[in-house]
Symmetry: none
Subunit: 219 residues, 2 copies
DNA sequence: CGGATGCTTCGATTATGATCGAAGTATGAA
DNA sequence: TTCATACTTCGATCATAATCGAAGCATCCG
């Protein structure tokens, strides 16, 4: 059944990664999904059997890609509806504590710290409006400016400024959109954290984490 | 997660029944799904929490319906893909012959007649390009103008003009996008067909259907 | 050739969620 | 008012499938 195939978070994350249009190896997809290679292999076999993806073997590398535009289109429609309705994933996210704590989701911060940031911005009225129409308040604009994010660089006709993104591990919302991406970039610039190579883990230094928690207080 | 919500067979069967556009009671939906009333109730609660359906209580009866045309559209796309890939456990498309023939998919024509329109436009080179980049040809622009659709009103920065949409019942493509919606509106204006109240069925008069088949010939 | 890397397959573990019996509440009808 | 019907909620049961360690196969590279 298509729904249950896509409904598994690990498979959903792999399909999401493949929606970029790039062909990825099993190892890369395992990292995207935050599962072991054997688990990923098992999932990929199911997706392939369902003709949602196809594989191309190059030596010892297996490259996987979405089977066609129709697949991508349906996935996109589903994600759009899911995003609009703020649907909760049933899995609680990856086992790896580091991934649970802070990781890359597309291009913004996810995990407990990602949720923390969102909650903080919400609690302090830096973000306002219902989840499907989040806006940055004047106070919020001031806040991010002082944090080092230039509001002027956030304008884009094609991508929302603020967008809630349902966090896989925390079952709550973290901040996506242009602002989410810019905030993560700023965290990198400040040297508070860095992305571990070939994973989605974002590793904070102890000082960086302390600074982050202070900056994005929920008290 | 949307996928897993829809992926459960009982829920899938209930959603399928609701795609007719009619509101059904919990008891009716339990029968559709082949589960007890208490199980159905539990499932319906989940679907309602996910805003995929809404309920209307009339005395002791609870009527459930899909939350909107958008939900129906996504479900239809999923089912179309599932059917095409042989992933479905149930019959392809609705059992109601009227729904199979012509129904609303979001805001455009689906079903056999919807596929017929698309095939016709394709066969006569009114639409060109690969499916992910469909464009209206000059001949096509002339054709739709003569049909009574104003090309100037079709411009939108936010929505594609032509877009293929996988048809649930026919396992083939029907036309979505602005043009698809405009064409359906025109069919209504011409009095060839009308949407049945409280359903997604589009009912053609015999004259209307004859005219439609002539207009969108595949010969 | 031997060791490293990429990946598949097997099998045991366990978290998850569908399921239904039981019980309770709300509404309708006689 | 009593009984029937529609539906919700609770909780125990258990089937399912995701998960990863272990092992094996295929390919690459020094």
């Amino acid at each position: 059944m298509l729904g249950s195939l896509i409904g598994d978070p690990a498979r959903a994350n792999m399909l999401t990664a493949l929606m970029s249009g790039k062909a990825l190896t099993a190892s890369e997809l395992a990292a995207e999904a935050g599962v072991t290679l054997q688990t990923a292999s098992s999932h990929l076999s199911k997706l392939e059997s369902a003709a949602l993806i196809f594989r191309r073997k190059q030596g010892r590398h297996n490259y996987f890609a979405l089977a066609g535009d129709e697949v991508g289109s349906v996935l996109e429609a589903m994600m759009g509806l899911a995003a609009k309705h703020g649907l909760t994933r049933t899995r609680t996210g990856p086992k790896d504590p580091a991934l649970r704590k802070a990781r890359v989701c597309y291009d913004h911060l996810a995990g407990e710290l990602g949720v923390r940031m969102f909650d903080s911005l919400r609690a302090r009225d830096f973000l306002a409006g219902p989840d499907d129409r989040l806006v940055l308040t004047d106070a919020g604009t001031t806040f991010i400016s002082e944090f080092g994010v230039d509001p002027e660089q956030l304008k884009s006709p094609r991508r929302p400024l603020c967008k809630p993104c349902l966090d896989w591990s925390a079952r709550r919302t973290h901040l996506a959109g242009i602002l989410g991406a810019a905030m993560l970039q700023r965290v990198y610039e400040l040297g508070w954290a860095a992305r571990l190579t070939d994973t989605r883990i974002i590793e904070f230094s102890s000082t960086g984490e302390r600074n982050f928690l202070n900056q994005f207080t929920t008290a």
